[in-house]
């Protein structure tokens, strides 16, 4: 087979950053091609160039031997290129069906064809096994469901090239599996798929070939993925070896630090109880919509509770708001960085210091020097790729934004309980292990840490104990000694009789 | 030295003030002085306007103030900028409401204009032989403007003095001073009192009364059952008189922008150039104009 999609010396610069420098590689027809690299390596930029959203400073793209010149995303679409962007691009006020048709509504003389509008979407969603109501407003969906809707865009029309930018970052293994079988079908049809992910398991599960970017440059190109090993890829990405990503080790656990009693709220009607000890890392696992995020938000006071008490070191946290929780030493790093995390238009420095600055701002007067130091420390520690700490956070790559938000909470002082919802969403392998190290360090200092994650390997790799949630309840609590994939997944599934078709291939390939 | 005179008015968009400016320009051309025309809709703009005149080296100014209570401030600001000051149309008052007599003034009292309106209506009611008991009066009001209140109350006082029943006077507050607002407010009055078939209307200016007239038309009251008398006599009124058949807009009290504009400018010039202080108080009269005589009246007033 000849090469179907070709990138020829693509370069793209932003003020202070060379996002892509002379990148050339090509992909065969019907191949799933992985694109990997550290956060800020230029993956999304390459995809934005492919989609016609941004134009490259130099270089050419060829599809099927023809040079492509896009003036807008419409041109790219007409050339058969479909892109699923890293950040969700949905209109919350419109329905699922309307979102899937956006930009190309079925119509006669401008009048919508309502039948077709809903009919085809229903068909496609069922075909893909996505359980979402096409007439529901996107605003009413959870992040995971939204991600599935976003993915469904890829099959609304027949595309020649589909690029997926970290499609699984907010999916659990079960939903990911739906995506994987979809990709297998598309591959069989001869579609070229460019697949960006930080999850090596997925890359090996799906891809035929692979390209690694580093600092905007081509670091490696592997036409046949079976010729490479995990460790090799990691070394190509990060520039060094990482022996053990998880790095978990035994820690002494202290007295009970956090106690939750009959916590409940509108979206989580069944009261929840659990305890976390000093120095303990407790993981929460579950499928999408299991209620983990909702539990964390209730605990933190982000949403109003209908009942329940939160006790830290024996003292009950009376008031119920994020500001109060923070003062009581309880902090939450939210799962949705775009909606709940980043503060657009403000610098990295300000985004990091927003909460912790109160410790070094006497009478509310800022201490710019301290803020600068703090930002620089965490930029270095978390390896945030940026020309300066004054950079607007919106200009960072997705993973780097996530690191800044993590930095905001890791830099907090006097924290007793740290809740992190999907901590490594979109974060590269190298940075991941550093983040885990920081968590161990904090735990060793006596902090109680709750990690919510949809990535089973991660949750098994770094926690001391796992609480599995299912339909708003804690279905099981499992100690590290008893960790077992099957057991955890079984507890996460609503109906135990389904335990036979557990999606465990991915986990096993580890 | 070159003489430079300011002419500040409160509502530059109003035709009346356009006319005053036009006639003041005439005086400027005749005498060869510079006239600086500034619109100042409120006290703050007025203060800046005076400063601005001072800065560009004017020697004096004529002003129609947005509010008569601004008096002491205007006098002080003028003194600070070493400018002579005269008022036109509206006379400045002190904090206690008494006129500031030191400042030369040419104008006409709002109450007097109103009374002229009232008298015209009363005369026409009698001429048509209507029984005042059967007649309703629309008071198109804009009470936040003190002159408006004085005019309307002036007109109604004459009506009442001539036996017009107080109970037949209905308030139609305009939300803004344009015809549409007056039309909407008057329509409600007419609909509320559907039993009354004959109407008169007074208001702050021609535009207000026109609104009432349009309202009668839209609810089907014939032109000869309506007597609206406005104030101003500029194009809004003339357009009405030019219509092929008579409308309910019976007449308007024309006040002369010519004297107000031309003479004040001339007097100020004399004061600056020749040290001749103007008379402290000149009151001009309003003149009623009807459909058949408005052209003559305008000629008489020198505004054709």
């Amino acid at each position: 087979m000849q090469d179907f999609l070709e990138f020829q010396s693509i370069s793209k610069g932003y003020p202070g950053v060379q996002a892509l420098a002379d990148v050339s590689f090509s992909i065969k027809k019907g191949a799933v091609h992985g694109l990997m690299g550290e956060n800020g390596a230029g993956k999304s930029t390459l995809i934005r160039v492919l989609s016609g959203d941004q134009s490259a400073d130099t270089g050419e793209i060829h599809i099927g031997g023809e040079q492509q010149v896009y003036k807008s995303v419409r041109d790219a679409f007409q050339a058969g290129v479909i892109v699923i962007h890293q950040e969700l691009q949905l209109v919350a006020e419109l329905t699922v069906a309307e979102n899937l048709w956006l930009g190309r509504f079925p119509a006669k003389a401008g009048v919508l064809d309502k039948r077709k509008l809903i009919g085809i979407v229903t068909e496609k969603l069922t075909e893909m096994g996505i359980d979402v109501d096409p007439t529901a407003k996107v605003a009413s969906l959870s992040i995971g469901e939204r991600q599935m809707v976003e993915i469904a865009k890829a099959v609304m029309v027949d595309a020649r090239v589909i690029a997926l930018d970290e499609p699984t970052s907010s999916l659990s293994s079960r939903e990911s599996e739906i995506l994987f079988s979809l990709i297998d079908r598309l591959r069989a049809n001869g579609t070229v798929i460019l697949y960006v992910s930080h999850r090596l398991d997925e890359i090996f599960r799906l891809c035929d070939s692979l390209t690694v970017l580093r600092d905007g440059k081509l670091a490696a190109h592997h036409p046949d993925i079976s010729q490479v090993t995990r460790d090799q890829i990691i070394a190509e990405m990060v520039g060094r070896e990482i022996a053990n990503i998880w790095g978990w080790r035994e820690r002494p656990l202290g007295a009970t630090r956090l106690e939750i009693k009959s916590l409940a709220g509108p979206k989580l009607p069944h009261p929840i109880n659990f305890k976390v000890r000093k120095g303990e890392i407790l993981g929460f696992f579950g499928l999408i919509g299991a209620g983990r995020s909702e539990m964390a938000r209730l605990l933190y006071g982000a949403d109003a509770r209908s009942q329940g008490t939160v006790t830290v070191d024996g003292t009950t946290v009376t008031a119920n708001s994020p500001a109060h929780s923070i003062r009581a030493g309880v902090v939450l790093c939210p799962e949705d960085r775009k909606l709940d995390g980043i503060i657009q238009g403000r610098s990295i420095e300000e985004n990091m210091a927003i909460s912790s600055r109160r410790h070094f701002s006497p009478f509310g007067i800022l201490n710019p020097k301290k803020e600068g130091e703090l930002a620089d420390t965490f930029i270095a520690k978390l390896r945030v790729r940026t020309p300066s700490r004054r950079q607007d956070i919106i200009n960072l790559s997705g993973g780097n934004q996530q690191k800044v938000i993590l930095g905001r909470w890791l830099s907090e002082q006097g924290v007793k309980v740290l809740l992190i919802d999907e901590p490594t969403r979109g974060i590269d392998v190298g940075a991941k292990s550093e983040i885990y190290e920081i968590l161990y360090e904090l735990a060793a200092q006596g902090m109680a840490i709750i990690v919510i994650s949809s990535e089973l390997p991660e949750i098994m790799g770094i926690t001391d104990r796992i609480a599995v949630m299912c339909e708003g309840r804690i279905a099981a609590e499992i100690e590290r000694a008893d960790f077992d994939e099957r057991r955890i997944l079984a507890a996460a599934l609503p109906d135990v009789s389904n335990a036979n078709d557990l999606p465990i291939q991915q986990v096993q390939s580890r | 030295a070159d003489v430079k005179i300011g002419f500040i008015v409160k509502q530059p968009e109003e035709p009346w003030f356009q006319d005053e400016w036009k006639f003041a320009d005439q005086a400027a051309k005749e005498k060869g002085f510079t006239l600086v025309k500034i619109g100042a809709e409120d006290g703050e703009k007025l203060q800046s306007a005076i400063d601005n005149l001072g800065a560009q080296g004017a020697q004096g100014f004529i002003v129609c103030t947005p509010d008569v209570k601004l008096g002491p401030g205007i006098v002080a600001k003028a003194a600070a900028n070493d400018l002579k000051v005269m008022t036109v149309d509206d006379r400045l008052v002190n904090a206690d409401g008494s006129p500031i007599e030191d400042v030369p003034h040419m104008g006409i009292s709002a109450t007097k204009i109103g009374e002229a309106v009232g008298q015209t209506i009363v005369d026409e009611i009698k001429k048509r032989g209507w029984d005042m008991k059967d007649v309703g009066a629309i008071r198109v009001s804009y009470d936040q403007l003190p002159t408006a209140v004085d005019r309307v109350e002036g007109a109604l006082s004459v009506l009442k003095a001539n036996g017009f029943p107080e109970a037949n006077i209905f308030d139609a507050p305009q939300a803004k001073t344009d015809t549409e607002a007056a039309l909407n407010a008057s329509t409600v009055v007419l609909n509320k009192n559907a039993g009354i078939k004959k109407w008169v209307a007074v208001g702050l200016n021609d535009e207000a009364v026109l609104g009432a007239v349009r309202a009668t038309e839209s609810v089907g009251i014939p032109a000869d059952s309506m007597i609206g008398v406005g104030i101003g006599g500029a194009d809004s009124a003339i357009n009405e008189f030019k219509k092929p058949s008579a409308t309910g807009f019976f007449g308007t009290v024309i006040i002369s922008p010519k004297r107000h504009g031309y003479e004040t400018a001339l007097n100020m010039y004399d004061w600056i150039a020749n040290g001749k202080e103007p008379e402290k108080l000149i009151l001009t009269a309003g003149q009623i104009a009807l459909r058949d005589n408005y052209e003559t009246v305008r000629k008489d007033l020198g505004i054709e």
Binding site: Q89 | S141, T179, L190
Partner: protein, 316 residues
């Protein structure tokens, strides 16, 4: 009980609340529910109602237009001047539409193409257009020569004056445009998430230019009807119209943050504004107190609507 609550707090909650309020007013305020008063009321909201149709689109796409009042005045004046000059009412009408449309087009191009803040742009054109109106008319009202022009506003069909029919027709047309066409959906999409719409291939720039141009055209229609009603073109007409229209839209549930709009809501918003004025005058409320009452009604209406959406558990 629950079904009542459901009714009140459902999608159509504002409409239901409005219907209740209407019923209460009808019973308690004398002379309110008469045919004459109803027609008067509807006529009094013609300008606001017509302009609200397109303002709804403008707000729904996350834009803003302050120039509507000036455009209504200007195009009304142009209609009168053109029909006086040519002796043809139709030409006058066309001239007004061309004028209004042109102002809208300029707004749209400056805002969408040159990416200039809509508030500032339309604040600027609001002043420029008002200035032009004053300059062309020398600040004076322009009388209509041909009495046939008045007939536009005075003529009736089935006992209802033409302007009300025009308003009704526009309500229908723009309601259809919003809900049943690609144009409407794209408008909501642009307002809801401009970035996502652009990435999905919606021509955001062209859409915005179109919306502003439509807004201008509709102002032209409103201007002609207004001139006909007041039998002259007045350069000072319709000042402050923009805020009334925007209020009516927001009252009707159009979100200033874009993405949310419904024609039924806007109609209710327009009617609430009209009824408030009407009832205050019927009840003879003093002018100064009217300000206060007007403000309170506005607050009350959004407060009720807000309770509704909070109860409906909408997020953001």
């Amino acid at each position: 009980m629950t079904s009542l609550k459901k009714l009140l707090l459902g999608e159509q909650g504002l409409v239901v609340i409005f219907a209740l309020a209407f019923a209460v007013v009808s019973v308690t305020v004398p002379n309110f529910l008469t045919e004459r008063n109803m027609l008067g009321l509807l006529q009094s909201v013609v300008t606001i109602g017509i302009v609200a149709c397109t303002m709804m689109f403008c707000l729904a796409s996350r834009d803003f237009d302050l120039s509507v009042g000036s455009t209504v005045a200007f195009s009304g004046m142009i209609a009168v001047m053109a029909s006086n000059a040519t002796g043809s009412i139709v030409l006058g009408l066309l001239a007004a539409l061309v004028c209004g449309g042109f102002v809208g087009l300029v707004n749209g191009v400056v805002i969408a193409r040159f990416r200039i803040n809509a508030l500032i742009t339309t604040l600027a054109t609001m002043q420029i257009v008002r200035g032009l109106a004053l300059i062309t008319s020398d600040g004076r009202a322009v009388g209509i020569n041909d009495p046939g022009f008045y007939q536009l506003a005075l003529s009736k069909f089935l006992g209802v004056p033409t302007p009300i029919w025009v308003m009704g027709a526009l309500f229908l047309a723009f309601g259809f445009l919003l809900n049943r066409t690609v144009f409407g959906k794209n408008t909501l999409a642009i307002g809801g998430n401009p970035e996502a719409s652009r990435l999905a291939g919606v021509n955001v720039i062209r859409m915005r230019i179109w919306i502003f141009t439509l807004q201008g055209l509709v102002c032209g229609i409103a201007g002609v009807l207004l001139a006909s009603r007041i039998t002259s073109g007045q350069p000072n007409a319709a000042t402050g119209l923009e805020l009334s229209v925007i209020s009516a839209c927001v009252l009707g549930g159009v979100s200033l943050a874009g993405g949310r709009a419904a024609m039924a809501g806007v109609i209710v918003g327009v009617l609430i504004m009209g009824i408030a004025e009407n009832v205050m005058n019927l009840l003879n409320i003093q002018a100064f107190y009217q300000y206060v009452v007007r403000g309170l009604i506005l607050l009350l209406a959004v407060l009720l609507d807000n309770l509704r959406s909070v109860a409906a558990g909408r997020r953001g």
